[in-house]
């Protein structure tokens, strides 16, 4: 929709201004409100006994010694909770054929991954609960595990859910045009590669945490929850614990990092809620770092065999690939673990105008921790495969990697259009962003410099990526699949008696600055200073109903709802002001907390107006409604997603003797539509790039053959640290989306989605003169040396 409401020409609009985050003050004084900070009267603590093996049959559980520990309040096994929790199954109806077995909070007969919760101990302190948990004896008879995803489909592989007959969870093929004919043409050059992507995880600095309280007098469950989607969790707690939905309240105050990790249903969290209900008192569970590594969802475990055919003119004649991904023993509830592969089918090559495309994905069960959505779902794989193949093809035909992109990227004036992968695209700017990138990084000069340095034995490389990013999802994403995940969001704004406004929104804050941009939008559109806006998010009892924050939707969807609500409140205020001031509402405006004439002359303050309405209604005509609160909800229509695009480049220096790669520069040009706060957006993109660098060079959940997680500590699982990270140059192209007045798209995932591809290409650029190539991430020194043939 694009109505007559425009606000961007207003001199006092805050949209686009790099204003400070009001919440930062609190966090810098140590006054954050994270879940583990909560202490409630009579609160007790949970610890879990977890499966020590990847696959096994539970023979017996001995709790006697644990029960005898002073301070132990309750111990639950899977069987104990079975009567109190309805099982959950992670499938969506529109993902035809996707199957998963029912899951329970604690394993009942069989354990299926190392770290699966088996027994819950509740005690007076976490330390006592852990002491007792150490005394629980679970006798497990080992079963053969299926850990290798490529072998899990072989006929003799152990079957994880015997009823299913094999370990295939889902399979999908996308096909457009005639790829076989295109690959068979004799004028095309074909490049074929196998890409391997390491399994990694989110490593939120605050681990998953919840404090759940149950009040039997009202049958109410209150969950203080470190999560991204409070209303979704309200539904899940209600449904699976058998409570009326309206009796469940989920509160998410400060959340110490989320990245998609905190939008899923975890057995230990459901068990915590069940225990609170059974014990009728508050129960706290905060995962420790080991528990996080073993059970926070993982992502990106893919092997992709890809092929590209290009004409001598550099046109992509066809793109095809087969992806196999291991998701663990279940499809995660409620979003499903098939979404990542599905995204890869949808997104690979989508920036390019290509006609012939085929992609197949096989999603397989295996005895490792579950995989599901993590920041930039599927994007790093889709981008690395398409742009990795494209850059290799460019070299094969002797064409510059920028030139081959220019020949294939969808033209900026070609929208709306549909990609070969079936995605509806609009308002994108691949050429503009690429041009800006080339200019920002001074591409030609860099190439010349690298060539000169190569002669001196210095091995530098440049790599690029042109990408699209899924943002602002519509109900066509989860809604049609039957998941309790709202795609619309709401904002309620009320005028306070003192002349301030209060915004209450269903999108949530995890550090991105959601609360700030909502305040900016409301302040500018309505007409008060930023410091007269208070924002509440993250409470199902007091905010409108909505989806929370995931898939980069806070600004685009929550922001638009806020914009509309601010307009509606302004209309209410001006109607009342018109009556009080004997003026036509159209002749009035609101500026800096005052009702003014259009020329800016102040007529009355908002607090005068509000106090008149709230306290002295006798002064108003009797047919005037004393209402100074407005709610608006917004959802994206006509498009399944609002895509953004970006062009990024990396410059690396490779030491062929050690295999170490130093990232010298990273440039990102993103088009996220209207930029609401450049300071926040830029650091979002940088944070995203750093996580992408993590995936490209450092992060990997390493499992042994038999399914033991071998590097589940922060000392062994490497995440990017300040020292190795480069400064990142950001530039913007702004093409507002026509789907909303605000025109904002998301920006949260681009860096994570695009950076690995640019880095892979940069490393291969540096390796090429040494006759070596790498197609495996993370690109560890050892793997680079292997690629060089020196180890």
């Amino acid at each position: 929709m694009s109505g007559p409401l425009t606000i961007f020409d207003k001199p006092n609009s805050l949209i686009g201004k790099p204003v400070d985050r009001p919440d930062a003050k609190r966090l810098l004084q140590g006054r954050g409100k994270f879940v583990d900070d909560i202490q409630l009267p009579r609160m007790v603590h949970a610890a879990f006994v977890r499966a020590p093996v990847a696959h096994g049959r539970i023979v017996s559980i001995d709790l006697d010694e644990a029960r005898a520990v002073p301070g132990v309040i309750a111990i639950y096994t899977g069987a104990d909770l079975a009567d109190h929790v309805e099982p959950y199954v992670g499938v969506l109806s529109h993902m035809v054929g996707l199957r998963s077995a029912p899951q329970m909070p604690l394993a009942i007969d069989t354990v299926r991954w190392t770290g699966e919760p088996v027994v819950m101990v509740v005690a007076s302190s976490r330390a006592v609960a852990e002491d007792a948990a150490a005394l629980v004896f679970v006798d497990i008879e080992d079963l053969p595990p299926a850990t290798d995803m490529e072998r899990a489909l072989e006929p003799d592989a152990p079957v994880i859910h015997p009823d299913f007959g094999n370990n295939l969870a889902w399979e999908r093929t996308v096909e457009a045009g005639d790829p076989d004919a295109a690959f068979a043409r004799d004028d095309v050059s074909v490049v074929e590669r196998t890409f391997r992507f390491g399994r990694h995880t989110g490593v939120t600095l605050e681990t998953r945490a919840s404090v759940v309280d149950y009040d039997p007098s009202e049958d109410t469950l209150t969950c203080h929850y470190s999560g991204q989607a409070p209303h979704m969790m309200q539904f899940i707690f209600a449904k699976h614990l058998g409570l009326p939905e309206e009796n469940v309240r989920v509160i998410s105050n400060d959340v110490g990092g989320s990245f998609g990790i905190k939008i899923h249903t975890y057995g230990d969290e459901i068990a915590t809620a069940a225990a609170a209900k059974l014990l009728q008192r508050p129960v706290k569970f905060v995962a420790d770092r080991l528990e996080s590594f073993l059970t926070d969802i993982h992502a990106r475990d893919h092997v992709v065999h890809g092929r590209i055919a290009v004409t001598p003119e550099g046109e992509i004649a066809a793109l095809a690939f087969d992806d196999i991904t291991g998701i663990g023993p279940y499809s995660m509830y409620p979003r499903t673990s098939a979404i990542e592969a599905n995204q890869i089918l949808n997104l690979t090559g989508a920036p390019y105008a290509l006609e012939n495309y085929r992609a197949n994905a096989k999603v397989v069960f295996q005895n490792k921790n579950l995989m599901c959505q993590y920041r930039a779902v599927g994007h790093p794989i889709a981008m690395a495969v398409a742009d990795g193949l494209l850059e290799e093809a460019a070299h094969k035909i002797g064409m510059d990697v920028v030139e081959i992109r220019r020949r294939n990227l969808v033209k900026d004036d070609a929208y709306p259009c549909t990609s070969a992968t079936g995605m509806k695209l609009d308002d994108l700017s691949h050429h503009k962003t690429l041009d800006k990138l080339i200019e920002t990084m001074d591409y030609d000069a860099k190439r010349a410099e690298h060539a000169a340095l190569r002669a001196e034995g210095i091995h530098r490389g440049l790599g690029l990526v042109s990408m699209i990013e899924v943002t602002n999802p519509s109900p066509m994403f989860y809604g049609i699949g039957g998941a309790p995940i709202a795609s619309q969001d709401g904002s309620t704004i009320r005028l306070e008696a003192g002349g301030a406004i209060h915004v209450s929104s269903s999108v949530t804050e995890q550090g991105q600055g959601t609360n700030t941009i909502l305040a900016q939008i409301a302040a500018g559109v309505f007409g008060v200073a930023m410091d007269r806006v208070k924002v509440t998010t993250g409470d199902t009892k007091t905010t409108p109903y909505g989806g929370g924050t995931w898939a980069s939707r806070g600004a685009g969807i929550g922001g638009e709802a806020t914009l509309q609500a601010a307009h509606a409140l302004k209309e209410q205020v001006l109607d009342i002001a018109g009556v009080i001031l004997q003026a036509k509402p159209e002749a009035l405006d609101i500026v800096e907390g005052h009702v003014t004439d259009k020329d800016g002359t102040q007529r009355m303050s908002l607090s005068d107006l509000a106090r008149t309405v709230y306290y002295r209604g006798n002064e108003l005509p009797s047919d005037m409604t004393p209402e100074l609160v407005a709610t608006r909800h917004y959802r994206v229509t006509d498009f399944p997603f609002v895509f953004t695009n970006a062009a990024m480049a990396a410059e690396v220096e490779l030491d062929p003797d050690t295999g170490f790669v130093k990232i010298l520069n990273f440039w990102a040009v993103e088009d996220c539509g209207r930029v609401i706060n450049p300071k926040l957006v830029d650091e979002q993109i940088r944070g995203g790039v750093i996580q992408g660098i993590g995936g490209a060079f450092y992060e990997e959940c390493i499992y042994s053959e038999d399914g033991q997680f071998e590097n589940a500590t922060m000392a062994d699982y490497l995440v990017p640290m300040a020292f190795e990270m480069p400064d990142i140059t950001i530039a913007h192209v702004e093409t507002p989306t026509k789907t909303s007045v605000l025109g904002a798209k998301g920006a949260g995932e681009a860096g994570t989605g695009g950076a690995p591809a640019a880095l892979l290409n940069a490393v291969n650029d540096a390796l090429r003169p040494l006759d070596a190539q790498i197609h495996q991430m993370p690109m560890t020194p050892e793997r680079i040396l292997k690629a060089l043939g020196t180890v």
Binding site: K25, G30, G32, D36, R289, G511, E683, R686, G687, A722
Partner: protein, 156 residues
């Protein structure tokens, strides 16, 4: 295990006495017993830096020190830095050098240590100094910017 020992510590200028389990780490004592929840726990094995705080003038990891080891010590946490950290706090806000804020108490402690130690506005040196503090949200760049701003502001 229930062995306890009574300790007496001065935390942010106030003296506190308590019987603590001998196995309890300092950060758990501060958070759970004294209610000073500003110091955070990210790993409890000394890697992430979220629990960094000051004991007798040195920045330490609150998860690697036992509460009993702090007996008689002067402890300062994020709640107690006061004006010492005012310039850094302002620079962190100005640069948006925090997102979720979970790493921030430890990050601020390490940044304060660098600035008070007379470190220069040298980006590589600042990055090296902060490499014991993980931040999963920002790109670190804004934190480095904030530290440089404070140093350059003070020197000019």
């Amino acid at each position: 295990m229930t062995d306890t020992q009574t300790i007496s510590v001065t935390v942010n200028g106030e003296t506190a006495s308590a019987a603590v389990p001998v196995r309890q780490n300092l950060v758990d004592f501060l958070r759970n017993t004294l209610g000073l929840t500003g110091s955070h726990v990210g790993c409890e094995h000394g890697v992430c830096g979220a629990c960094t705080l000051e004991v007798d003038g040195a920045m330490v990891r609150g998860c690697l020190m036992l509460a009993v080891q702090a007996d008689g010590a002067k402890v300062t946490t994020i709640e107690g830095y006061g004006d010492r950290a005012a310039a850094l706090r302002a620079a962190f806000i100005d640069r948006n050098a925090l997102q979720c804020g979970y790493c921030t108490p430890g990050m601020l402690a390490s940044a304060l240590e660098y600035v008070e130690g007379g470190g220069g506005a040298d980006r590589a040196a600042i990055r090296e100094h902060l490499s014991g503090n993980y931040c999963r949200c920002t790109g670190y760049q804004s934190i480095v910017d904030a530290v440089c701003d404070v140093i350059e502001g003070e020197s000019s």
